[in-house]
Symmetry: C2
Subunit: 152 residues, 2 copies
């Protein structure tokens, strides 16, 4: 079973986000070993470069396997494209790591270490909502690969 | 104060989605009169055209002011572009109506009556999550227009 790691800056504060995350983790357990690594958000009073550098040091420690950086300027994919990507990657690696940066993005070092960058939308979403979107698309990708009807 | 109507096919079933919707409705009440109109989802055993036609009849009754159809094939916008669009529309109309169709999309009639189509992402999202994304982007647009810091 493939391992998927979500390395995310910041934690979930709202109960509704935690509950929705739980729901997707439950559904995803049928398809992969999914692990969420929460990176401590740096004090926002520091300058952006310092914030990205410090968060980047913690992110780098958690990069394993094929690394996909979620980046508004990355390549846009349809849900079917993401499923095809998963299918191809599962032939090559046992771990896929998604990185979701903080408010200012990620350090240059993290960018260099990422194998690719993908974008979900040209719109900016808050980190809690984006995390749910990523979990949902991961779940959707597996239902496409396994040709299962989408559980609503 | 501008009125914004969200005409959505289907209702929210999950408690986490209802709670998140409530949170955005509370925040949005500072900026607009937001109304959500839930269109009854047709029995999925019918053929897609029949489903879209029947849902379309109910959607059409609720189209007021400037109509924006949310469509995966619509024009992609950044959050800033959406804010600019809102700002311009508020000079021209007192009502903006967003339409979010059902599983198969919307009828030709609804497409004809829409003033424009916008896309949030080339990815497909479930209707409950998409509704939250739309509420969040609407809220974000107002914080951009009013130059307010985004309340997290």
């Amino acid at each position: 079973m493939i391992s998927i790691n979500l390395v995310c800056v910041g934690n979930l504060k709202e109960k509704f986000s935690k509950d929705e995350q739980e729901e997707y983790l439950k559904r995803l357990s049928a398809f992969c070993n999914l692990k969420i690594v929460e990176i401590k958000e740096q004090n926002q009073l520091q300058n952006p470069t310092t914030i990205m550098e410090k968060e980047g040091q913690d992110i780098v420690k958690n990069l394993k396997g094929h690394v996909i950086l979620c980046d508004i300027k990355g390549k846009e994919l349809s849900s079917e494209n993401l499923a095809e990507k998963f299918k191809a990657l599962m032939q090559q690696t046992s771990v896929i790591t998604f990185v979701v940066g903080g408010s200012y993005g990620v350090s240059e070092n993290v960018k260099k270490l990422a194998n690719e960058r993908i974008s979900f939308s040209p719109m900016t979403f808050p980190h809690n909502l984006f995390r749910i979107m990523l979990l949902e698309q991961t779940y959707r990708a597996f239902t496409i690969i396994e040709n299962k009807s989408y559980h609503k």
